[in-house]
């Protein structure tokens, strides 16, 4: 939005036409729609008389000697949308007409090649374009995001990839799918975002809470998946992308079609399907790690100069098999898995998706309307509805394999409205409101105690942000936001758990019904959150850019942190939430400093995030059951500090050659207890060399080296009593895996097929050397190695 210039063409044109005489003048002036600055060199054309003219420095133009009647006038400017209008001449006429600037039409489109983007003016940002996303067409959103410095992921195997920004994930990372904040139970470690990576045209990552428009609780950051902006001209275009991969012996197909009409109406359809069987580590099959994924989206709208609307429906369904060997009974089984170094269950390759597995379905519907007000700004209003259903199937006894152990349905209604005042050249103000209602239903038919209770949640929010430009070099930005959250849950507690947690003294009034061995309770909690952001950006003519941002953000605890209560088989642990958990508050300082020279460029992005009452989940003790001993993981709050830096650089040593280098480091510390935070990503160093020869059918080949350091800063392992060994043993649950190095090769070529149709083929080999490795942030690292070599062939047809 930085240097947004919105054009208005104002035809100010007295033109006198008498009955049968042709001696009237049409005079006018072309100005910016918002701030009414004159636009020079705009062309004005009257088709009936075949005459055109160009505006002067003041935006003025004139036609002389026109007859009485109605004229079709076409006004255009190099940076503006062409406008057709009718001017009636019955005398010297003075007519005002309004046009829109291209930059506003395409306001969300980023400039390719820039490392400094403009979702915010001052926060750290990065983005992925269509071409970069397509490389991950056969993977997931999280896989694609990991190619950005500072973005990592918390994995459960290869198919459940949960993005983490600057070391933080889950509820601290907001994901927006075409303007809709995803409500897909993001509080679970083994819950990946319910979006199809193929449905987005571009993805922007805002590292931190600098963009208050999107929410005040983005302590980690914001991920924006965006659709292509529709060019308002009569057109029909589309593409089909087929991906085949050897590891998993499957692939994906995705196709989309766009139809745009000259009057501004458009429709778009997109669908994709992905199917993989068992994935393979270098030495063995990772039994039960297949996936079946379906995505579909339909969009229609009207895009006019002053107003427009759009509606969208998106469907996502994924059935994901979870490594069989990772489903375990008690702490002894876990010790055995950690010690054996190889998965306990290795079966021949299959496409079958067996238990344990999860099936998630997400429906998203939205309707949006916008209107621009002359000389003032733009108003948006949007309603969206989301329905998220999650089934998790365990290995169960007694013909219960088809009964899910977890069956949750989360429904969300959101209404948002915002107004952008952008009429003035050097400042812009935006304010908005949000209302949200959410209902979670935990089906009791599972025969397993609810891990997450039934609850209703209400959110209200209001924000105001402003930016101010000083000259051509400096931009200042500031904003504030208030959010109210209420959570109203209905939860059953075992009486023994209620007493063990010490709730009988603090929360006795929450008990609604005493059922003997359990209580039905009705916790209702309110949270008031304040967030704020301020920053400055500087860019000089010699290619130097600097951005500084401070963001204050507050996040209310999520349902898992408050209410979690049950046994997780996949981790052999009992997870316990706490009703006493308060909101957490983050102060994040970030700096971006970069310069682009003729043959090279660099960006340095240090940051510091100080979080009060940081909520974390870690082992607190052991509980005994008939099944044996289980480590208890409890949520606790502490003060934490995350310090990190992302470095990136590129070099063009010779024609056709380019190298890219990126390094990311983050250190997390519990400052109250002076111990490292759990699940902080390892330092990473990526180097890539690329050769491009456009004359050989756009031939491109790249070799990437990825070195992941060992995470040396981890909390201490815990000591548990092993009933099997009849003694206390160290459970090496926090021991990090060794460092590893992967080589990835990719190449592509394009061939014209005729007309606008083009065929692009690409071949990639991931983990070229077939190295065995385990990653610290893969929850299945206790059970099996990560993926071995994968050969990926892609064919893309654009038309």
């Amino acid at each position: 939005m930085k240097l947004k210039i919105v054009c208005f063409i104002l035809l100010l044109s007295p033109l006198m036409i008498f009955a049968q005489e042709c001696n009237y003048d049409l005079k006018g002036r072309v100005v910016d729609f918002h701030d009414k600055t004159p636009l020079a060199e705009a062309s004005v054309f009257i088709s009936q008389i075949g005459r055109s003219t160009v505006t002067d420095e003041q935006g003025n133009f004139e036609f002389m000697g026109l007859c009485k009647g109605t004229y079709q006038v076409q006004a255009s400017h190099s940076e503006c949308q062409t406008l057709f209008l009718e001017v009636e001449i019955s005398g010297d006429t003075f007519k005002e007409i309004l046009l829109e600037h291209h930059r506003l039409e395409l306001e969300e489109v980023q400039v390719i090649g820039s490392t400094l983007l403009s979702k915010t003016n001052t926060a750290q940002e990065a983005f992925l374009q269509r071409e970069q996303l397509e490389r991950f067409s056969g993977g997931s959103l999280g896989d694609a995001l990991k190619s950005i410095a500072g973005v990592s992921s918390l994995n459960t195997g290869a198919n459940i990839v949960k993005p983490a920004i600057h070391g933080l994930n889950g509820s601290r990372v907001l994901i927006f799918n075409d303007g809709v904040r995803m409500q897909d139970m993001e509080w679970g470690d083994e819950h990946a975002p319910n979006v199809d990576v193929n449905s987005a045209n571009s993805v922007t990552v805002i590292k931190g809470a600098g963009a208050l428009k999107y929410g005040g609780d983005a302590i980690g950051g914001v991920i924006l998946l965006e659709q292509m902006n529709v060019p308002v001209k009569d057109s029909l275009y589309g593409s089909t992308l087929l991906t085949g991969m050897l590891n998993g012996r499957g692939g994906s197909a995705t196709t989309e079609l766009n139809r745009v009409f000259h009057n501004g109406y458009y429709v778009k359809g997109q669908g994709s399907f992905r199917r993989l069987g068992d994935r393979e580590a270098p030495d063995y099959v990772l039994s039960n790690t297949g996936i079946r994924e379906t995505g579909l989206s339909l969009q229609a709208g009207l895009k006019k100069f002053e107003w427009g609307w759009d509606v969208r429906y998106a469907f996502y369904n994924a059935e994901i098999a979870i490594l069989r060997a990772s489903h375990i009974g008690n702490v002894d089984d876990l010790i055995r898995s950690i010690n054996s170094g190889e998965p306990e269950i290795i079966r021949p390759f299959t496409y079958d998706l067996q238990n344990p597995r999860q099936e998630v379905t997400h429906h998203l519907g939205k309707a949006r309307f916008y209107k621009r007000f002359r000389g003032l700004g733009r108003w948006n209003v949007q309603y969206d509805y989301q329905n998220n259903r999650r089934f998790e199937y365990d290995v169960r006894r007694g013909e219960r394999d088809d009964t899910p152990s977890i069956d949750l349905e989360l429904q969300t209604h959101t209404l948002t409205s915002d107004f952008t005042l952008d009429a003035k050249e050097n400042y812009e103000l935006q304010f908005g409101l949000l209302g949200r209602y959410q209902d979670n239903f935990a089906n009791p038919a599972t025969g397993v105690r609810r891990l997450i209770p039934d609850y209703e949640k209400y959110d209200l929010g209001a924000f105001v942000t402003g930016e101010y430009r000083i000259g051509n070099s400096w931009t200042l930005e500031a904003g504030a936001r208030y959010d109210f959250n209420r959570i109203d849950a209905q939860k059953f507690y075992r009486v023994s758990r209620w007493e063990e947690r010490g709730y009988e003294s603090d929360f006795a009034d929450l008990i609604v019904e005493d059922l003997g061995t359990q209580y039905l309770t009705n916790p209702v909690f309110d949270y008031h959150n304040i967030s704020a952001s301020a920053g400055a950006a500087y860019s000089s003519d010699n290619g130097y850019n600097m951005r500084f941002n401070y963001a204050l953000s507050q996040r209310a605890p999520n349902p898992s942190e408050l209410f979690s209560d049950g046994l997780h088989h996949s981790a052999a642990r009992i997870e316990l939430g706490d009703l006493r958990i308060r909101k957490e508050t983050s102060h994040k300082f970030s700096l971006t400093s970069g310069k682009t020279f003729k043959n090279w460029g660099y960006t340095v992005e240090p940051y510091a995030n100080f979080i009060q009452d940081f909520i974390l989940l870690e082992p607190t003790g052991v509980e005994f059951t008939l099944r044996g001993a289980f480590p208890v993981w409890g949520f606790r709050q502490t003060d934490a500090r995350l310090l990190g830096v992302d470095l990136s650089a590129f070099l063009i040593p010779a024609e056709h050659w380019r190298t890219d280098h990126a390094f990311s480091l983050v250190k997390g510390l519990d400052t109250e207890n002076d111990i490292p935070l759990i699940n902080i990503p390892s330092a990473q160093f990526k180097n890539q060399i690329t050769f491009v020869q456009p004359e050989w059918h756009d031939f491109e080949i790249a070799l990437e080296s990825q070195y992941v350091f060992r995470q040396n800063e981890v909390p201490e392992n815990i000591v548990v009593f092993s009933p099997e060994q009849q003694q206390e043993v160290v459970l090496e649950i926090n021991t990090p895996p060794e460092a590893y190095h992967l080589l990835n090769l990719s190449s592509s070529m394009s061939f014209p097929v005729g007309g606008r149709t083009a065929l692009t083929g690409s071949l990639a080999v991931n983990n070229l050397l077939d190295n065995s490795f385990r990653d610290y942030l893969n929850r299945q690292r206790f059970f099996a190695d990560d993926l071995g070599r994968n050969i990926v062939l892609q064919l893309k047809l654009t038309y």
Binding site: W309, P444, S496, L567, F624
Partner: protein
Amino acid sequence: MKTLRTILSFAIVGALFVSCSNDDDAPAPVNEEELITTMIITLSPQGGGTVVTLQSEDLDGDGPGAPEIDISGPLDASTTYTGTIQLLNKTENPAEDITLEVQAEDEEHQFFYEVTGAITDVTYTDQDGNGNPVGLSFELTTGAAGAATLQATLRHEPKKPNDGTLADAGGETDISQPFNITVQ
């Protein structure tokens, strides 16, 4: 402006959803079907004598309460006992006999009895459809008087056949309970 009206009506419907709270119907409690609260091992001396029961009971399942152990009395030295095992879910009324489920899926289950001290041996006396042991019934032999431990483990989906050790069998642990017993 027709479009505007459509959009506004959408917005109003949305606002209604936002403002109208669901009726606060109390959720139904979950019937914990798979829970095993109680394990009872009954040891009957062959040739007559006092029957000994070993019981472990954890009525709150995965809750914080630890299992309560109840051993009816000491075992006799140098005696062979016929052993049976019973699993119950006492959170249901009447208590559900989980033994029947294990019996129905005997090819996917196996009990393991590890002994030390004055209990010298445990042998299986039952078989599943494939001729592999299940462990719902067994024979237990005591040696000279002294202290002994019996560790009873139920594994779901173990490797079958196996060499009789937990390490070789693998699978997931459904029950794991040691008993400290006196033999006199």
